[in-house]
């Protein structure tokens, strides 16, 4: 019996891995076709993408994975209950700006400043996402529409505030830089010039474990999953769906608020030109790739970070635009959804076949017995 459970378990894992692998393969084939059409060499492309990363590449991949993971985790919370929070981009832009602004004022000393900024970022992100949640439950506004609009508002507002009140800085503006004692030095695995792993990468671990626990092991998580699977049934069994919508939007926004903080407190020191845009949208793709499960998201984040980092010198080394890797990323997300469905159907069909075979055997045996009984 134990053996059978183990076999079923490994089959399940195999199925879970099969779909992403197929998707990755399809994505590579499509990208290769595009590169061939553009008249460049696929071999060159693959050799750059699959080359061994240098020390600094490893550091960058690790750091970027953290940001992508947080972004995808934020998106996944809503997705688990069929809430499409497309507003992660705006939520983390606004939260990063406010956190950097407040931390730059240095109201609190040293590292306490960082803690305060983290809380503020979560509150700001949560409130901004909460607006969409409240609009949905009170006025029936689709969260897809409202979050996209809130993105535009947040990005424009941050731009206005920065342009109006920001510190003059070369050709641009920035918030007041953090003092050195409110910064982390990170962990330097190789030489100093290869860069440091950001200390607040720990946030990703904490958030991942925390959200995983919340969704899988608590009443709230059960309600959330139940609402996602069948809202009518959830309502019938006493889940307060409206309340759930607002809470999960706020939670999603709070996690979104964390996205850029590891970079802020380890390298950037202020909100300004080095702010990394686009993570919110990339996170949605990673969340879909990881099937909204923290473990899956972690793999997806590493894959995307790897592709981004390795593709960066494509133009330099072999004369292919690094933008082609966005095709790979886009196709992988599309393909993975299809692949999961195909694998699921295939698995179901196989199970049914196996079941039918067993039943047929049993039926045959029983008719045999019947026949014997009649004969005797």
């Amino acid at each position: 019996m134990n053996n059978m459970a183990a076999a079923a378990w490994s089959r399940k894992i195999g199925q879970a891995l099969l779909a992403p692998l197929i998707a990755l393969l399809v994505a590579m084939v499509v990208t290769s076709l595009v590169i061939m059409l553009a008249g460049a060499s696929v071999g060159d492309f693959l050799s750059v993408l699959l080359r061994a990363p240098s020390n600094r590449n490893w550091v960058n991949i690790a750091n970027q994975s953290v940001l992508l993971f947080l972004s995808a985790l934020a998106a996944s919370i809503g997705f688990r209950m069929n809430l499409f929070n497309i507003g992660v981009e705006g939520q983390y832009t606004l939260a990063s700006y406010v956190a950097a602004l407040v931390a730059g004022l240095a109201i609190f000393p040293g590292k306490l400043n960082i803690l305060v900024a983290i809380v503020i970022a979560m509150v700001v992100g949560g409130i901004w996402a909460g607006i969409a949640g409240v609009l949905k439950v009170t006025r029936g506004v689709s969260e897809v529409i409202s979050t996209i609009m809130l993105n535009a508002i947040a990005i424009t507002m941050v731009g206005y505030l920065l342009n109006t009140y920001g510190q003059q800085y070369g050709q641009g503006r920035r918030t007041k830089p953090l003092s050195a004692d409110s910064m982390f030095v990170g962990w330097v695995p190789f030489d100093a010039r290869d860069g440091a792993i950001w200390t607040l990468g720990l946030l990703a671990v904490l958030a991942g474990v925390g959200i995983s626990f919340l969704i899988n092991r608590t009443r709230f998580g059960f309600d959330l999953r139940a609402t996602g699977m069948n809202e009518a049934a959830a309502v019938a069994s006493g889940v307060k769906v409206k309340q759930m919508v607002v809470i999960s939007m706020v939670l999603s926004g709070a996690i979104a608020g964390l996205i850029w903080l590891p970079a802020l407190f380890n390298g950037a020191a202020y909100y300004g030109p080095p702010f990394q845009r686009g993570l919110g949208f990339a996170g949605i793709a990673v969340a879909l790739l990881g099937r909204n499960r923290p473990i899956g998201i972690a793999f997806g984040a590493v894959l995307f970070a790897w592709l981004n980092e390795q593709a960066n010198p494509l133009g330099l080394l072999v004369g292919i635009s690094p933008s082609v890797v966005q095709i790979t990323q886009g196709v992988v997300v599309l393909a993975v959804v299809v692949a999961y469905e195909v694998v699921r159907r295939w698995a179901t069909a196989r199970e049914q076949k196996a079941l039918r075979a067993t039943l047929d055997k049993a039926a045959a045996a029983s008719t045999d017995n019947d026949a014997k009984a009649v004969a005797s």
């Binding site: 497309i86 424009t156 731009g159 030109p273 004369g319 292919i320 933008s323 959804v337």
Partner: protein
């Protein structure tokens, strides 16, 4: 239900990924489909020489018919006149700060010297990287030293007096307008672009005090304002509706929309290009409407930097390419400003002589 919503989500993501990530490709009518996937490195493929130049492009890369193309023109000139070898690298939209650093380090590790970074966005990355490669000469177009600490001996910051060039095209606009209303379309409402606005407005007022300048920006801070022709068209149309008949854009790739709006508005409406001589790259139907272009000679700066290294006396610290240094100016292609050229050149002389100070802030 779940499946349909999942498909909806995927559709959304694809749409967002295309708009979010594909910005670098919008707005530029690239000749041939090959250029977007395979960067046009033709000049570097056969170039040979002792000096190896690394050129790191801003978002958009070769083919933007504006900023990056101008830098590429400078590189081409250096290859043919100075006999240098080269490699180029391109930025992707929304990339990490570390990606810019990595691009510069890869070039430095490969023995490139000088390394020219195109665009102010490289300022921080050059500051971090230059210290680790004291023997390599770096240059940042539009750049500055973000730390302001001990200046980096091996970095040149190549800036431009865009306000002076904008003054001249402003004067042209002020002289040509019949409605006494002219428009300014900025890509992103940032200090760099406000410099264009300030010079333009001053130029208009200098020749035509009665004229009114309508100012519009496409984006407040989102850099996609430089690659958004639809946005440019909207702002330009708004100004045309309010009676403007000459519109100057400082919006990179979004300028294509400004040209389109002016062309659709018909005869007697003018647009003014920016960075490169945009008369030369515009479609034929738009050519009749491109009065002049404010030239920002990124090609001159790029070439000068490479030449200084070849000559053994690398540029360092801040250099400003102004009217005097032929770093900015206006174009005469099309011959639409021939009748006022003498006047414009007089203004140019006054600026060069310092009798007119052009503002840098509106």
């Amino acid at each position: 239900m779940r499946r349909t919503s999942k498909i909806a989500a995927v559709g959304l993501v694809v749409a967002l990924a295309l708009t979010g990530c594909g910005r670098s490709d919008t707005g530029t009518s690239k000749p041939g489909s090959g250029t977007s996937a395979a960067a046009d490195n033709t000049i570097c493929k056969d170039a040979k020489g002792d000096t190896k130049v690394g050129l790191a492009f801003d978002v958009g890369g070769v083919g933007d018919q504006s900023f990056n193309d101008s830098a590429y023109a400078g590189l081409k000139k250096a290859v043919s006149e100075l006999g240098v070898a080269c490699t180029t690298g391109e930025a992707t939209d929304g990339e990490a700060e570390s990606a810019r650093e990595d691009r510069l380090r890869t070039m430095a590790d490969a023995g490139m010297n000088p390394i020219v970074a195109v665009g102010f966005a490289y300022s921080e990355a050059v500051d971090k990287v230059s210290g680790d490669y004291p023997d390599v000469n770096f240059a940042v177009i539009d750049g500055f030293d973000p730390t302001g600490d001990a200046a980096n001996d091996n970095v040149a910051y190549l800036g431009f007096a865009e306000n002076e060039g904008s003054f001249l095209v402003g004067a042209a606009a002020g002289l040509k307008t019949k409605t006494n209303k002219v428009g300014f379309v900025g890509g992103v409402h940032m200090d760099l672009i406000k410099k264009f606005e300030a010079g333009f407005t001053q130029g208009v007022k200098a020749v035509n005090p009665k004229a009114k300048v309508l100012v519009g920006y496409i984006q407040e801070s989102d850099l996609k304002g430089f690659g958004d022709p639809d946005g440019g068209k909207q702002v330009a149309n708004g100004q045309l509706d309010r009676g403007a008949d000459v519109i100057y854009h400082a919006a990179g790739g979004s300028g294509a929309g400004v040209f389109a709006a002016v062309t659709e508005a018909g005869k007697g409406q003018w647009a003014i290009g920016v960075d490169s001589d945009q008369y030369l790259t515009a479609p034929d139907d738009q050519k009749a409407h491109i009065l002049t272009s404010m030239l920002k000679r990124v090609d001159v700066a790029t070439f000068d930097m490479i030449k200084s290294v070849v000559d053994g006396a690398p540029l360092k610290s801040y250099s400003t390419f102004d009217l005097k240094a032929d770093g900015v100016g206006y174009s005469t292609s099309g011959g639409f400003v021939d009748d006022i050229k003498a006047q414009l050149d007089q203004w140019a002389e006054k600026i060069k002589a310092g009798t007119i100070k052009v503002k840098t802030k509106p």
